[in-house]
Symmetry: C7
Subunit: 72 residues, 7 copies
Amino acid sequence: MSKRPLDILNNTLGKSVIIKLKGERIFRGTLEGYDIHMNLVLENAEELKEGETENKLGTVVVRGDNVVYISP
Amino acid sequence: MSKRPLDILNNTLGKSVIIKLKGERIFRGTLEGYDIHMNLVLENAEELKEGETENKLGTVVVRGDNVVYISP
Amino acid sequence: MSKRPLDILNNTLGKSVIIKLKGERIFRGTLEGYDIHMNLVLENAEELKEGETENKLGTVVVRGDNVVYISP
Amino acid sequence: MSKRPLDILNNTLGKSVIIKLKGERIFRGTLEGYDIHMNLVLENAEELKEGETENKLGTVVVRGDNVVYISP
Amino acid sequence: MSKRPLDILNNTLGKSVIIKLKGERIFRGTLEGYDIHMNLVLENAEELKEGETENKLGTVVVRGDNVVYISP
Amino acid sequence: MSKRPLDILNNTLGKSVIIKLKGERIFRGTLEGYDIHMNLVLENAEELKEGETENKLGTVVVRGDNVVYISP
Amino acid sequence: MSKRPLDILNNTLGKSVIIKLKGERIFRGTLEGYDIHMNLVLENAEELKEGETENKLGTVVVRGDNVVYISP
């Protein structure tokens, strides 16, 4: 049975995710929302650099066209 | 319960936000408006460089396709 | 009350604006028109480099996808 | 009264224009047509480099997504 | 008889694939889902560098606009 | 009277054209077809480098989003 | 009589093609399918570098927005 990409995001709500953005930017946080463009809402979001927390952002709305992948 | 990205923006109206744009440009200001493309209206907007105010802009309309993230 | 991005442009018609384009190009001029793509019409437009007038253009139609921000 | 970007192009038909394209390419020619994507038809078109004619092209159809600005 | 691109993806569900992304990033994993934008769901996904596993990701949702090719 | 960009292409069918693509690639050939995206069909197509034939391609379908200009 | 770009692709089904992608990547293979986005299905696909086979891929689905040209 096929798993639609947005269904995976829906099943991941409230859980921790890694988000890789274009230009090698990485975020970690709790996925609290998304829409069909893959615009995302993260809470307790941190920006990572070489695996270390570089920047604590709290809530963040990421514009979907920056996303490379989302890994629950 | 899911939090839609545009709902978060709606809840943030009148509050201070950090906006990261492509090409590492960062703005700080009060979010006064947005639309479905994530075009944004900021007031008391400042452009930051390495955490310092580089440029005071007052009101600014940012075209949505430049946005990486918005953090309330 | 929310201020829609295009409403801000509408309120700015006939007034002086700074336009920042992708690739660091900056224009100053009087905003005489726009459309939903943020295509813009400027009059008495000048292209600026490091704050100095580099190029006087008179009327100019800017294609919206180049725009980073518009500051009244 | 607002001047729509495409109205300006319409008023410029048959007149000389400067077109700046992404990647710093500049054309000069007579605007003979356009469409809603800002695809353009120029006649007697020349490609300029540092203000000098580099290349005479006669008629040229420019795809709109390359356009930065059009100056009548 | 023509084989539509999305039909090939459909026939590949549950099987191992190599995904090449823009910027030379390569993933290997089991294709578990896709949509019309070529957004993809991989399971047991690994990011490869010069043919070696660099990063084990488990489940990953790849945004379609990053995809160069998918090879079953 | 305005000349629509696609009308110019239509009038050029069966004639020789120069096509400039993003990234400075230049083709010369006979325009045999096009569509509204400016996808093009060339026959007897050659890829040029510094005005010299680098590569003879025969028939070629060019995806429109690569096109900078078409000169009949 | 005009030859539409997608008609050329249709006439090429089952035949050998050269595909040039953005970033100078070249594929050779048998065109087995396509859609309106120019997403392509190749079989017996090989990735070429300086005219030599670098990588044998078998079946490959190429996302259309990477395509520069297709030459039957």
